[in-house]
Amino acid sequence: MPRYAGLRAVELIRSRGFRWGTTFAAILGGSLLAMFVLMFWRSSYLLFDALDRSVTEQVELLAARPPDMLVFMISSRMNHRPAVVTQVGLFTPDGISIVGDVPAIPVGLDLNGSVQAVQAPASPTSQWRAAGRRLADGRLLIVAREADEILEVRADLIRGAAAGIVPAILLSLVGGVLVGIATERRLRHISAVAERVIAGELGERLPCSSGDDELDRLCAIVNRMLERFEDVATALKGVGDNIAHDLRTPLTSVRARLERSLRMVGPGSAAGASIAESITGVDRALSIVSALLRVAEIRHARRHKAFVPFDLGEVLSETAETFRPVAEEKGLAFRFPPPCRAMIIGDRDILVEAIVNLVDNAIKFTPPPGVVGLYLEGTGEHPIVQVIDSGPGIAPAERRDVFRRFFRSDASRTASGSGLGLSLVAEIVALHRFSITLGDERPGCRFELRCWPGAGGPDTLDRVEARSNEAHGPPLHI
């Protein structure tokens, strides 16, 4: 498909600017053509009318003269200087020229006295307006006048019109195409921004040029709308965070009171057991509150990034050293091939948190005897951390949701945890503009953390979904 200024031809033809351009060209061309036709018709009518009247007048004039004077009058007209423009001829009833400068009766001339267009008998390229009539004595009188000049004027008119109208139509078409391209480009820019907004980048704004055309005004309105959306979205998220924040103090004091009661009744009694259970419940609520606030904290950290270069390989080694005993104690094999050095730029503390979360999760949900693996793959510039386990895996339908707040699959209802672990990981990944994908190990699952900025684009979660549609697997954990 041919492309013009980055647009496909079909897009161009569909564009509003192009359609406006062609419509305008059609209207302009049509009205110019109508004007020309009127002018052409009117001017040729007037020119021919004047000429025809002079021919008619001559015929009437000469026919009214005494018949014996005619020959003299015609021959004296011929010698008249300056020469008169009408040509006159007198012929015998059988068409032989008696006198005059009309050499022969023009072919097809009806001798009824009316003016007709005929071919000049002497020169085939010349056109005459001629009239003829049979006189009372039987002789034939022909009056003619050359029409070549009028015909030439008419031809000039047509040529002039062609030279004017065709370029005007072409120019308006070209104008339409140019306007179409310009409009289409702006619209593309706008739809690219809109796509990013849909992908969750609520801070994006439509481009407004300095002009004040309809599109600019529309963009300004949409931008105001987006601002409002962003405020509402922020407020909504804030509500959750505020609730979490406000719950902390009362929960803490409830817990303290329960602890005191437990001490009073003694842990051995039935009441004591029930209080101990309540404390466990409050602890779980507190851990959810803490995790929620941690997610909010990381989201807000976007504003004050403290990114430094550090070795990802070293982070993995430390994590492996810490978690290998935990896996082995549980009866799992822990695989960790010594990694190479891989310098990346980021917030080391919270990236450790993300990786530890994935490993901790994998060990937690893999039943023995199983395998948990931590690998550093990819090239120097583009390191990929893989956390692989042989656990129950994650159902494709649930793979997108595992990165959302509070999602816990059926398989994990009985396991402890706030259900916020992977949403925390997703926030950390988004903060760094890295990407995380979730694949299938049949059985088990494989998290891949791509550690370079822009690895996932703005729509990290969509990529997760796209990938997770590729494969099937047993239900999931988080």
């Binding site: 924040h245 004091s253 817990r255 941690r294 901790d360």
Partner: protein
Amino acid sequence: MATILVIEDDPETASEIRAELVRCGFTVGCAADGPGGLSQAVDGRWDAIVLDRMLPGLDGLELVRQLRTRNVTVPTLLLSALGQVSDRITGLRAGADDYLVKPFALGELMARLEVLLRRPSGGTQTRLHVGPLELDLIARRASRGGRTLDLLAREFQLLEYLMRRDGMPVTRKMLLEDVFGYKFEIRTNLVDVHIGRLRRKLDAPGEPPLLLTLRGEGFILSAPQ
């Protein structure tokens, strides 16, 4: 018994802390705002101060800073609803000795307070002793009664941390944060696994146990009586 000043503006939290401290035998003073807290804090009769980060009148951080500029060296424990690592660091930089993020268990607060009250006798020591245990920080060698202990790096760190706080309860959270550097929740029994491994190396069959588990609280390392 030690005297503790609690500066906390939330009456409920203040009364919980106070009740727990009294139960543990401390003498407790209370203040509900920054300026009141500061005027009590400077009078030199406190063994430790527990204060909230956000206080009306005078911010907790600023209060600690002012104490330090007046050469009041009483140990302070900041309580805060802000949990970010950077907040913890600013808290400690301002001169606070420990930092506890709300919500916390009262046991956690007591454990940390006890550590503060018996501040480890200086990080400058190169050899630590607890009963038959000896830790050489320079040679990175650990031994129990002459028997060399073959410890991994992480186990060595754990043991050093516990030996510096011998006889004091140490919570899982303290170990997670200070030894492993994880200031977030872990769902596996990470701390218990490492403590278990360390314990198996410390206590040979037949030897009296040095590293005990305190049910629901954490661990304690102490010399056998």
